[in-house]
């Protein structure tokens, strides 16, 4: 551990933000993914063309994590308000969007995301109500289908990292390999799953997610123990550089209310 004190959530947000390059057309979901995206803008990507699925353009959050996309913390300094058809349709489904950040309640080894519900076991032939209903797909399905690349953020726990999700709310690589091809999605699929412990990336051919790097406070063993499938380790797996002072300062400027600072 370095001299800097930071939480796992903050490391996850910084690692996610590092995926965003300056100048990209980027769409951020609500919650932690929004903080990660606006951190990138505050730190190394000042010219990122950021938008939300509500069609709120040019805004940066004021006063902390917005409660939602139409939160006044975001409406306060927008340069354009349009609509969902514009943001998710004209700019994402069209194939123009470079990168999207989405969250996951459950994710599987091919990067398929479930945010719809938790069932006891498989759903079966007949669609029955879930034991626990989750918030649904939202814009994440459209981002996963349309954005050139998607970054998935998820707390790393074995119950969330499943061999196969019980419900695909947002498509990753489906059954793996080139399974996405048959649907003609404009988007390329998930480029990374960034967790509270490390970073997984898809194998170039099989598209199975494997461990690419771990955070300084984590380890290969800890990550494997918290993954619900037999996680393979990439040949050149390595440790992720810790947050720099300027990264942490930029993140905390965005995360005014300390949503990411709660110790887990």
């Amino acid at each position: 551990m370095s001299a800097l004190d930071y939480t796992r959530q903050e490391m996850m947000a910084i690692a996610t933000g590092r995926e965003i390059k300056d100048g990209e057309l980027a769409i951020f979901g609500v919650g932690l993914s929004m903080l990660a995206g606006y951190f990138a803008q505050a730190h190394h990507a000042p010219n990122v063309r950021a938008m939300t699925e509500g069609g709120v353009f040019g805004a940066t959050p004021v006063g902390g994590l917005p409660w939602g996309i139409e939160c006044n913390r975001l409406s306060v300094n927008a340069t354009s308000f349009t609509n969902a058809l514009d943001a998710l349709g004209f700019l994402v489904a069209s194939g123009r969007c470079d990168v999207g950040i989405i969250g996951a309640a459950e994710v599987d080894k091919f990067g398929n995301v479930n945010t719809t519900g938790i069932w006891d076991g498989e759903i079966g032939e007949s669609f029955r109500p879930p034991k626990v209903r989750l918030p649904g797909a939202g814009g994440a399905n459209d981002i996963a289908s349309g954005a050139k690349r998607t970054i998935i953020m998820a707390a790393h726990e074995s119950k969330r990292f499943a061999e196969k999700v019980s419900y695909i709310s947002s498509p990753g690589y489906l059954e793996g390999g080139n399974a996405r091809d048959r649907f003609g999605f404009p988007g390329g699929g998930p480029a990374a799953i960034i967790t509270t412990l490390g970073i997984l990336r898809p194998h170039p051919e099989t598209k199975e997610f494997q461990l690419e790097s771990w955070f300084a406070f984590s380890s290969i063993d800890e990550i494997k123990a918290n993954t619900g499938w037999d996680l393979k380790v990439a040949p050149h797996a390595h440790v992720v550089p810790e947050p720099t002072e300027s990264e942490l300062a930029a993140l905390r400027r965005v995360d005014v209310t300390g949503a990411l600072r709660k110790k887990d």
């Binding site: 409660w67 969902a84 489904a93 879930p130 209903r133 918030p135 399905n141 999605f185």
Partner: protein, 331 residues
């Protein structure tokens, strides 16, 4: 003399709603602009078996579902964003009392667009390949579902794509920031899908936080995305989106968002909430008293207040609005 379309909220619900109807609302995302006051009035008048069409869940659908008044819903997103799960809706889905048909946040406006344009279906390369396509709560035994988002062949490329069914709700109750007494409406903040919805719905009732003189509409015609000719009636109801936010006018009421969602998590809590916050007021004044005048002042001290500045000269006082409603003549 042109007629004003201003009518009382209770009258709007009496005139334009019925049990079992397809009811659309949920104007702007789970914490933003929505005609929540209309949903409260639906419950006050005992409407039931509603088929709710909400682009996103909001506290309105959360309440309608929690109270058992909605038995079907179609949504792109069914949570409350950073406020978490929508407990009323969640309880209704988990118990099987409400069938929730899941789409995405792009699929819903595409379906409104299809309804607005009278298209037979809307082709799109989204939702396909996922369980949004394969699983149908309205036809649970149809698996993989063939009737929800059928696959069709693109006649140009030969590629297989998704066909989305158009939506034409019986009524849309749409929240806007400003409207004149004829229903010409200006929305501050994202319009989300209110533009398409206002053309897709068979009838539209506007709930406006403020009523403006028509001079305002003529000053900013480019911003009038809902013109009077698609509007049946206008209801003047300040804080119509409470406890959610209305950019330019008031912030989200964080405390009540949490209180309400906590109450909706149980039958008993829901019954108490209905008693305290749905059945307890007689008119607009007592609704505002219920929220609390101090709280209204606090919520109105929003950093977005400057967004309203260009329109302020035209905003009518409650007395002026009452006069218009009484004479029935548009200003």
């Amino acid at each position: 003399m042109t007629q004003s379309k201003l009518i009382p909220l209770a009258e709007a619900v009496r005139r334009y709603t019925w049990d079992g109807m397809q009811y659309a609302s949920g104007a702007a995302l789970p914490i933003g602009s929505d005609a929540i006051a209309f949903g409260r009035e639906l419950l006050r008048q005992g409407r039931r078996d509603l088929h709710a069409i909400f682009h996103c869940n909001s506290q309105q659908l959360n309440l309608l579902a929690g109270a058992g008044a909605a038995t079907k819903a179609e949504c792109g997103f069914s949570g409350l964003e950073v406020f978490g799960f929508a407990n009323g809706l969640r309880r209704a889905v988990e118990s099987g009392r409400l069938a929730l048909e899941d789409y995405s946040n792009l699929a819903m406006p595409l379906r409104f667009l299809g309804g607005a344009l009278n298209w037979p279906f809307v082709p799109a390369t989204t939702n396909i390949g996922s369980d949004l396509q394969y699983r149908s709560a309205f036809a649970p035994d149809d698996y993989p579902a063939k009737a929800k988002i059928p696959t069709v062949t693109d006649p140009f490329s030969g590629r297989e794509i998704g066909a989305f069914s158009p939506l034409r709700p019986d009524l849309a109750a749409i929240h806007v920031t400003l409207a004149d007494s004829r229903g010409n409406s200006i929305m501050l903040g994202t319009e989300w899908s209110r533009f398409e919805l206002s053309r897709a719905a068979k009838k539209v009732v506007i709930l406006a936080d403020a009523i403006v003189d028509p001079g305002c509409i003529r000053q900013f015609p480019n911003l009038v995305r809902i013109p009077d000719l698609v509007v049946e009636a206008v209801v003047y109801w300040p804080f119509a989106a409470w406890p959610q936010s209305s950019p330019g006018l008031y912030d989200v009421d964080e405390e009540h968002m949490k209180l309400m969602n906590k109450a909706l998590a149980t039958e008993e809590g829901t019954a108490q909430y209905l008693k305290d916050y749905v059945e307890s007021y007689a008119d607009l004044d007592s609704y505002l008293d219920l929220i609390g005048r101090d709280r209204l002042t606090r919520l109105s001290a929003t950093e977005t207040a400057f967004l309203l500045d260009p329109y302020r000269p035209w905003i009518l006082s409650p007395d002026d609005v009452a006069k218009l409603a009484k004479t029935g003549e548009a200003a």
